[in-house]
Amino acid sequence: MRLVCVIGFTPDKQSFGDNHEKQKLIWQGCRMKLNPDDGYALGFALHLKKQNPDLFIEVVTMAPLSVTPLVENILRVGVDRGTLVSDGIFAGSDTATTSRILGKYLKSIDYDYLLAGSFGDDSKINQLPPQVSELLNINYISGISSIDEDTFSSSKILVEVEEEKAMATYELSAPAFLGLTEKCGHKLPYVRLKDSRMDVGHRLQVIDNSVLGFEEREVGPKGSLTKTISVQALRKKTAQQRIVGTDSEGIEYVYNFLKEKRFI
């Protein structure tokens, strides 16, 4: 059985720059981190591999080459293959174009199930699994809180899904794309100290446009149907802000505010 985890990296907010005057995000040089829910999807796949060592796990991501050390660490915790889809002409692609690029690679490989996190730190990440599923003509279901592991080796699996107002159980035929949540309960393990220098280069492949063969007008900003034209601060600092402490004066101030606004 082959599982492919489609993962995303988001800017680490601690190192992410912004320039409100120019209304641009500064991506260059910013540290990236694995989207947290994708970590749960990977953790689940590795949990299955513990029970079934023949299971083959590939991790696929589209990102700048600067994420290579992060992908290498994922290989060091037991993932069999890492595929980094990366090329300068892909930079600036919107999510739909990113999905088309990843979809083209995924069409060329075999898999039983694709796995990803249900929710992204960045809402754009959430669009990717359904868009890739549409391109691959497979089902996608998000919000999976548990998977019946006994059904994993068969052609149909049972998954439990947390919807807004209900819990539901679905049966899906392979191949399918599964969106997992933290409820699946398996975190991505840390790299063991003894494995931290393990050479995993032979298990990492970089797929660039010489393999995928897109024309320049199909990808990047030219191939994208949406464009982020500026970024702005969400809400300006409130004009009448008051800073108080947790001493009796501060508590009194908040208490009086609550009374004045009739919360008490």
């Binding site: 999510t95 809402s123 549409e134 970024v231 809400r235």
Partner: protein, 319 residues
């Protein structure tokens, strides 16, 4: 004349009604026709609010079968030549809309929270942007349709424009169902609806170790407890109490943020909050810049002292 389709998902009709306000803001004074798509519903909620109800009745069409729904929506889009397709950013809306956009080769903007126009009167969409305290202003390139998902509770439809609604019954639409089957479904017993609550006491990573202390304060103030993502990750709340991009948008009169940092994924859900009080050891945390009152200090200490103060006041009042 512009034409737009709003998908009235059976379980989210009330949220779908709010999307009519998005259309009003998109088209302004320009004439437009609004179509509501209902699948195996009765379309009653759309009466008087839209021009047409596309009433699809076919019990083989299931709300969770996104491939089949994509067939239906795409066919309708080709038939009626819509300019915009709008979906609530609900559990199913979030997966159906991007599929439809890919199928139609359409521009797609997700989770919009506002609409505005540039100098050339072209629409721009406001949506959360990655990583920091920012929102992105996004533009779709020329061409139609444009597919949008809209965060629930971010637009308010006032229903002032009464329309004559015509029903169009559709029973012969082609779609390919399959590959997914619902085995069982039961309603969540957790009825903690924080989206229409007046007062929310919300906790984050800074108060995780004392999170249980929030419930008595919420009770004393007749509010409810909610939380940010680090609390969900520690399994201390159900997802229904999560405020943020992957949780709920809230609009209480008062939001008390205790030990919450205020990443964009969280604060994007607070745009319609009237008053924010934050309690944080770091006054430079993003949530503090949005707050009317910032209490600089330990959130657990604040909760303890505030609760004592309220109790004392209550006991004086009853003496």
């Amino acid at each position: 004349m512009h034409r737009a389709l709003v998908y009235f998902e059976k379980e989210n009709c009330q949220h779908a009604v709010q999307l009519l306000e998005v259309l009003r803001q998109l088209y302004g004074n320009e004439a437009f026709e609004c179509y509501a798509l209902t699948i195996n519903g009765n379309g009653q909620v759309c009466q008087g609010k839209v021009d047409y109800v596309l009433d699809v009745q076919n019990q083989a069409l299931k709300p969770y079968d996104q491939r089949a729904l994509t067939d239906v929506v795409s066919t309708l889009c080709k038939t009626y030549d819509f300019d915009h397709l709008l979906f609530v950013a609900s559990h199913f809306g979030r997966t159906l809309a991007p599929r439809v956009a890919i199928r139609l080769g359409a521009a797609f903007v997700s989770e919009i929270t506002a609409v505005r126009h540039d100098a050339d009167s072209q629409p721009q969409f406001i949506a959360p942007e990655a990583g920091v305290q920012n929102i992105g202003v996004i533009k779709a390139k020329a061409g139609k349709p444009v597919v949008l998902t809209v965060r629930p509770d971010t637009f308010q439809y006032d229903g002032s424009q009464e329309k004559t609604t015509k029903q169009i019954k559709l029973s012969d639409l082609e779609f390919k169902a399959g590959g997914i089957r619902q085995i069982s479904r039961h309603d969540n017993v957790d009825n903690n609806d924080i989206s229409d609550c007046e007062l929310l006491i919300s906790g984050g990573g800074g108060i995780a170790k004392h999170f249980e202390a929030l419930a008595p304060l919420a009770k004393a103030l007749r509010g409810k407890v909610s939380a940010s993502r680090p609390i969900l990750d520690r399994d201390l709340i159900p997802r229904s109490a999560l405020v943020g991009q992957s949780g709920k948008t809230v609009s209480p009169r008062l939001y008390m943020a205790l030990g919450i940092h205020g990443a964009i994924q969280h604060v994007v859900a607070l745009e319609r909050v009237e008053h924010i009080i934050s309690v944080n050891t770091n006054v430079n945390a993003p949530i503090c810049s949005l707050s009317e009152i910032v209490v600089h200090g330990d959130a657990a200490t604040f909760v303890d002292k505030m609760l004592k103060k309220i109790m004392e006041d209550n006991s004086h009042a009853t003496d």
